[in-house]
């Protein structure tokens, strides 16, 4: 019996050895699927580096070791930490590169398909700001350029060698360095490496930011494994008034060259002031020799935009979809954003006809109609225009002609209306009803637009309201913003606001002074948006804002845009008040910290045109 058992045992050993020997025949797991390292568990940060930044906060003008370009340096010098007292800034989360350096533990876990056990995602939850990251491991593509951004961004990962490599896009703008204004733009991308050595985890972050960095920023973060759940995973935050009676167009910032604390850091540690301001060279061994040539004149020059040269231009790639196609982005519930034909288009669907906000430029109207037909079988019933600008009304004619408003045929008003007055009521069964503020009608008629492309259903004062497709839709007139006929259009249940060109993510506001636009009105309109938004969590999500151009946003992007317009307004106003000429204002490069994001020097709306509009607007007290 013992021999028999021994034989069985030996057979099993041989079998197991054979099977193992044949193991290479088992199909290898697809790349990025089988974890080469296990990152699951609780991790605590090691704070043996940059304790000042990660604890009390960075010091003003301590920008050394950051490869910031001129725009990044000026952005940081203009930054006043009091900005976080503004309501909408108070609960903002960290962007991922800083989140990984923040105080507090995090935990990681795997998400696997219940049936195949394939690895779908790796999750990371950080204590600070309740930072929940999802690193998709299933090979899905990154979203298109017009998709929303979040503080954590959209991450995909794969295992390579002994590292998990993670690529992150679609991050919001935020602080690359905490507390002293070193910025990260919404165009930044992040590559990370997670490498584990026993109970020690190293995370290397490589940030590429064409807007604010001249070369990638590389940092590494260390953690040690926690054997038990450290708890305290929540990070409650609610905003409120911190400074009463402050006007809502006040944004704390410092004028160029007027940062009052810029020399404190150097004086405290006996470091040349220029050392923290020189950008990429501060990372390298060459810094010491570079500082030998830095004198007071150069230092002072670093505090303001370099003169005698044209404005920088936007480094953003693919901000607007211009591939000749119309793309659909579901926003929320029955609301969609269409991009590709000039200005963005909003489509609301339901059991009634489609409600469309803005009609695009009109160059791709057939594709716009085809896209809408994929969303609803009902015709377009209403078209609302946020302004008269051609990038939003150019498609009125084609889209209007393809629609119909079944609420009109047989109605008293159509029967009694004098035919031919506007051309609109002549055949309501074959045309959508077009709505806008009355000044849109006036401006389009003055421009000679065909009657069928001119909104006939207009409103005159603050608000227009309509219940359609199960949602309350409100129009809010914004006097003298980019034009004198702008509307914000709010889908209340879906909580989506179509902002038209009052807000874009791609360019300086097109303030059309000749047609009633003004910089003060633009700021008022942006603040009106912010009065209507509610974030879902840590300063993001919640109310969606469809910009006139660019990607689907929430209040964070509107807030940053509002801050930018206010700051530029303040700089121009200070010069206007001091008697500066337009040429002097232009030469001062008052937009220098924003030009790598929004600036253009050619085309229909240049940086100079924006500055000129601000100047003329303020000269006229508007």
């Amino acid at each position: 019996m013992r021999n028999a058992r021994g034989l069985v045992c030996a057979a099993l050993v041989v079998l197991s050895a054979t099977l193992i020997g044949q193991a290479p025949q088992i199909p290898p797991a697809p790349t990025g699927q089988a974890p080469a390292i296990d990152l699951s568990g609780y991790w605590a940060p090691v704070l043996h580096e940059d304790f000042m930044e990660r604890g009390p906060g960075s010091e003003i003008a301590d920008y050394g070791g950051f490869p910031i370009n001129e725009a990044g340096r000026l952005w940081a010098l203009s930054y006043d930490p009091s900005r976080v007292t503004l309501r909408h800034h108070q609960c903002e989360a960290y962007v991922t590169p800083y989140q990984m350096r923040a105080l507090g533990n995090f935990r990681m876990w795997e998400e696997r398909d219940a049936h195949t056990q394939r690895l779908l995602a790796i999750h990371l939850w950080a204590q600070t700001t309740e930072g929940h990251r999802v690193i998709w491991m299933d090979g899905r593509p990154h979203p298109p350029a017009w998709a929303p951004h979040t503080f954590r961004g959209f991450s995909t990962g794969q295992f390579k060698g002994n590292a998990l490599i993670v690529q992150t896009t679609h991050m919001k703008s935020g602080a690359l360095r905490r507390g002293n204004g070193v910025p990260q733009s919404d165009q930044a991308t992040l590559t990370e490496f997670f490498v584990r050595h026993g109970d020690h985890l190293t995370n290397v972050t490589v940030v590429s930011d064409p807007v604010f960095l001249s070369e990638p920023m590389v940092r590494s973060n260390d953690y040690y494994r926690q054997p038990v759940d450290p708890g305290a995973w929540l990070y409650a935050c609610d905003d409120g008034e911190q400074i009463l009676d402050r006007p809502d167009d006040a944004v704390p910032h410092y004028p160029f060259g007027k940062q009052p604390y810029v020399r404190e850091f150097g004086a405290r540690y006996k470091i040349p002031v220029a050392a923290g301001l020189l950008g990429a060279v501060t990372m390298y061994p060459e810094l010491s020799s570079r500082l030998r040539t830095a004198n007071e004149t150069e230092t002072n020059a670093l505090l303001s935009p370099a003169g005698g040269r044209p404005s920088e231009t936007s480094k953003v790639v693919g901000g607007d979809a211009r591939d000749g196609n119309v793309h659909i982005l579901p926003v929320r519930d029955n609301v969609y954003m269409l991009v590709g034909d000039g200005g963005n288009i909003v489509v609301q669907t339901g059991d009634q006809g489609a409600f469309v906000v803005d009609a695009g430029e009109g160059k791709l109207s057939d594709k716009v109609l085809a896209a809408i037909r994929t969303l609803t079988n009902n015709p377009i019933q209403f078209i609302a225009n946020t302004s008269f600008r051609s990038e939003h009304t150019g498609g009125n004619g084609v889209l209007g002609a393809a629609g119909q408003d079944p609420s009109l045929p047989g109605s008293f008003f159509v029967q009694a209306a004098p035919r031919g007055v506007t051309g609109f009521f002549s055949d309501p069964s074959s045309h959508a009803t077009m709505m806008a503020h009355v000044n849109v009608q006036v401006r389009l008629q003055a421009a000679g637009a065909p009657a069928a492309a001119v909104p006939a259903d207009t409103y005159l004062e603050d608000r227009r309201r309509k219940f359609h497709n199960g949602d309350a839709i409100e129009f809010f007139y914004q006097p003298n913003a980019v034009t004198d006929g702008d509307s914000l259009i709010h889908f209340r249940r879906a909580d989506v606001i179509a902002a038209g060109d009052i807000f874009t993510t791609t360019q300086y506001p097109v303030i059309d002074v000749k047609n009633g636009g003004s910089i003060q009105g633009e700021i008022r309109a942006l603040n009106e948006i912010l009065k209507k938004t509610v974030y879902r969590h840590q300063g993001e999500g919640g109310t969606y804002i469809v910009p006139g151009h660019g990607y689907l946003a929430d209040e964070h992007e509107v807030l940053e845009y509002r801050d930018m317009v206010v700051i530029v307004r303040d700089r121009v106003k200070a010069m206007v008040d001091a008697g500066a000429t337009l040429q002097q204002v232009k030469a001062a490069r008052v937009t220098a910290d924003y030009d790598t994001q929004y600036g253009v020097n050619t085309g229909p709306w240049t940086t100079e045109m924006f500055v000129e509009a601000a100047y003329n607007s303020l000269k006229n007290g508007r």
Partner: protein
């Protein structure tokens, strides 16, 4: 023998077989393949990553402490014991210069924190050489056990005359966790260079006199990380354990970028200030 004992015996035997089989590919490789002549695999030949070349520091963390000599007593972030603070508070660079100890900040535990260029090359098939232009220092990472006479102090901890700032280092290739199931056994691709350094001549963790002692142990992992479409990075994760001066292990990680243009290599002598 009870049946349960047989089961346990079989199970144990199978485990041994599995573990043994897991290393079959490596053993075969060392033989030069099935049927081939014996061909010992050297550390150089079995390197899972290529660390050779010139690398330059990216001083993006603790920037003020690393690009400049901080004021005396400025030892933020460091987990120091009172004994270390006492020494740091009495730091006198002139005294170090007078004693010919300008290189105290260039010892192994502090060297790669300095702004420097690094050249890594194979000295022979079993030893990697790391040179820095800052302070003109050389470290030798020999694979295998540490030789008793290596380093600047004896195994008993007594400093040898003209002791070595770089101590005695032993190197191993550190492979990621092997995942047996579903991956065909054997190690996953990639790996790190693990270097353990002991018997260092006492030096500074930070230029302003923050000390480490003769008994300090430095454990480092050298990882090469290639950014898709971008630079090649060398990241050195370091742990210093020093019961004499540190309350906890001191962990840092420093990053370097690969340079193809080697013209900026500029050896300089140690400086105490």
């Amino acid at each position: 023998m009870k049946y349960s004992h047989v089961r346990a015996y079989c199970l144990a035997t199978m485990v041994v077989a599995v573990v043994t089989q897991a290393f079959v590919p490596r053993v075969e490789a060392q033989r030069g393949g099935p049927g081939g002549p014996p061909a010992p695999i050297t550390p150089r030949a079995s390197a899972p990553i290529d660390l050779t070349g010139q690398w330059v520091s990216l001083v993006t963390e603790d920037w003020r402490y690393r690009q400049f000599t901080p004021p005396k007593g400025d030892y933020g972030s460091l987990p120091l014991l009172p004994a270390a603070r006492k020494i740091a508070d009495s730091w006198d660079p002139a005294r170090d210069e007078a004693a010919g100890e300008q290189c105290k900040a260039y010892g192994a535990a502090g060297l790669l924190r300095l702004p420097t260029r690094v050249r890594i090359s194979w000295q022979d098939d079993a030893a990697l050489k790391l040179e820095t232009d800052a302070g003109t220092q050389t470290r030798l990472f020999r694979f295998g056990p540490t030789r008793a006479d290596a380093g600047g102090t004896t195994p008993a901890g007594e400093r040898t005359p003209g002791g070595d700032w770089q101590g005695a280092s032993s190197a191993t290739w550190d492979y990621p966790q092997a995942a047996f199931a579903g991956r065909g056994g054997g190690p996953a691709p990639g790996g790190s260079l693990k270097v353990v350094t002991v018997r260092m001549r006492p030096g500074y963790l930070r230029r302003n006199g923050v000390p480490y002692g003769a008994e300090a142990v430095l454990t480092e992992y050298f990882d090469r990380l290639d950014v898709p479409g971008g630079d090649s990075l060398l990241v050195v994760t370091a742990e210093v354990v020093d019961a004499e001066y540190l309350a906890t292990p001191y962990w840092t990680s420093q990053q370097f970028k690969r340079e193809t243009d080697t013209s900026r290599w500029q050896p300089t002598p140690c400086a105490a200030r």
